[in-house]
Amino acid sequence: MGFWAQVGAILWKDIVVELRTKERLSSMFFFALLVIVIFNFVFEPGSEAMREIAPGILWVTFTFAGLLGLTRSFTMERENGCLSGLLLCPADRGAIFVGKALGNAVFMVVVEAVALPFFGVFMNVAVLPALGRLLILMALGTVGFSAVGTLFAAMSANTKMREVMLPLLLFPILVPILLAAVKGTEAVLAGEGLGGVSGWVKIAVAFCALFTAASILLFDYVVEE
């Protein structure tokens, strides 16, 4: 079995589990919806201020929903000793990591795709004219988030305060990619092209490349017994 076949098998396993239980996607989506609704209570809906902070709200929504998915990703493997089983497979550790990270990214993309129309409607933001550019930013944000997130989720699943530990570790590290995503989204929603935010796109790409590589290398140490 080649590297990508192993990655595919692990990704497929996660998708099948999710298709049978539908726990993760439904909880992630419902939570995303709740965050959008609550932000509308906190700030005056339809106001100028609301339009200005809309990109921030979008990414807070994605980050929180993604966090929920990440926590589940490895607690699921811990239950019934699935992680040990996975590690006993004659699979490359890097392939296990990439498979799990891709799974997390796929779930996040699904939730983002469903949450984005709700965001547009509830926040009164015209999402469609900037959709193409927005999708590029969302792809970068999701890849960066999933790469570091999967590594830290594997770690925090083995600490005493699992659910609490993950955001504490993850959020400070995510600062560059979150800033890039929010500022990029802000410009794109205001009608600017990606060329106008090339600085942010560069930071996002650098974050994704650096932490995907680092996470693949470091994952081996995180899961070894």
Binding site: V148, T159, L169, P176, L179, G199, L218
Partner: protein
């Protein structure tokens, strides 16, 4: 080693205030508020030195798997966080009269704050960790990822906004006596940092030794005497 460093640190910290307050002339525009610079900058320098040591020791720990590198990384993180806290405290004291605000979201301030958050998370990970050997590996991973993130954090916050006074030292804009005072303070703080670091490592080693002796004793008590 740690005694020598302790004496050096003590001597350094005794002369540092003289150089900062009396030897260096009073800055024309900022007056006395500028004096905090002599403690602020050295604190920043040693806290970054601390985080760099965390990174190097973390890489060595994952590579060589020797306990001692983890002790070094943890100790450096602790002392680094201590000095980083000092930076975040002395900064606002200066900023209030000069910028008329305790805090502004400037590139260097924000980077320092995010760094502080990362390494506080590092210390929390240590306290909430489960299995000791596994937790040491997790810490090392965080120590590496956190340090790799620094240039990205700085670059991103830099595009976001910049207000901090430019590094006068590099531009050669610092008066000679001020520069000398800064160097004295830098040396004193570095000595203090190293003294604390060595002290913390030897304390950690003593703790480990104590733990093994305790475990050994317990084993002897429970096993029947021949």
């Amino acid at each position: 080693m740690s005694t020598i460093l302790g004496i050096l640190a003590l001597a350094g910290m005794l002369v540092a205030p003289y150089f900062a307050l009396i030897y260096a002339s009073v800055e024309k525009e900022q007056k006395l508020a500028q004096k905090i610079f002599y403690f602020h900058v050295p604190s920043a320098w040693v806290s970054f030195l601390g985080f760099f040591i965390v990174f190097v020791a973390s890489v060595l720990y994952l590579w060589k798997k020797e306990r001692i590198y983890d002790l070094w990384a943890s100790a450096a993180a602790e002392v680094g966080v201590l000095f980083c806290t000092l930076v975040l405290l002395t900064g606002p004291i200066w900023a209030k009269p000069i910028w008329n605000a305790w805090w502004v979201w400037d590139a260097r301030l924000t980077t320092t704050l995010v760094l502080w958050l990362i390494y506080v998370a590092y210390l929390m990970l240590r306290s909430y960790g489960g299995d000791a050997a596994q937790n040491a590996k997790f810490r090392a991973v965080l120590g590496i990822v956190g340090f790799l993130d620094v240039p990205l954090i700085y670059e991103s916050v830099n595009i976001w906004r910049t207000l901090h006074p430019p590094q006068l030292i590099r531009k050669g804009g610092l008066q000679a006596d001020m520069f000398e005072a800064l160097m004295v303070c830098l040396t004193a703080f570095t000595a203090l940092f190293l003294a604390l670091l060595f002290q913390r490592v030897s304390l950690a080693r003593a703790e480990e030794e104590l733990a093994t002796i305790r475990a050994d004793l317990q084993e002897r008590e429970t096993s029947p005497t021949p």
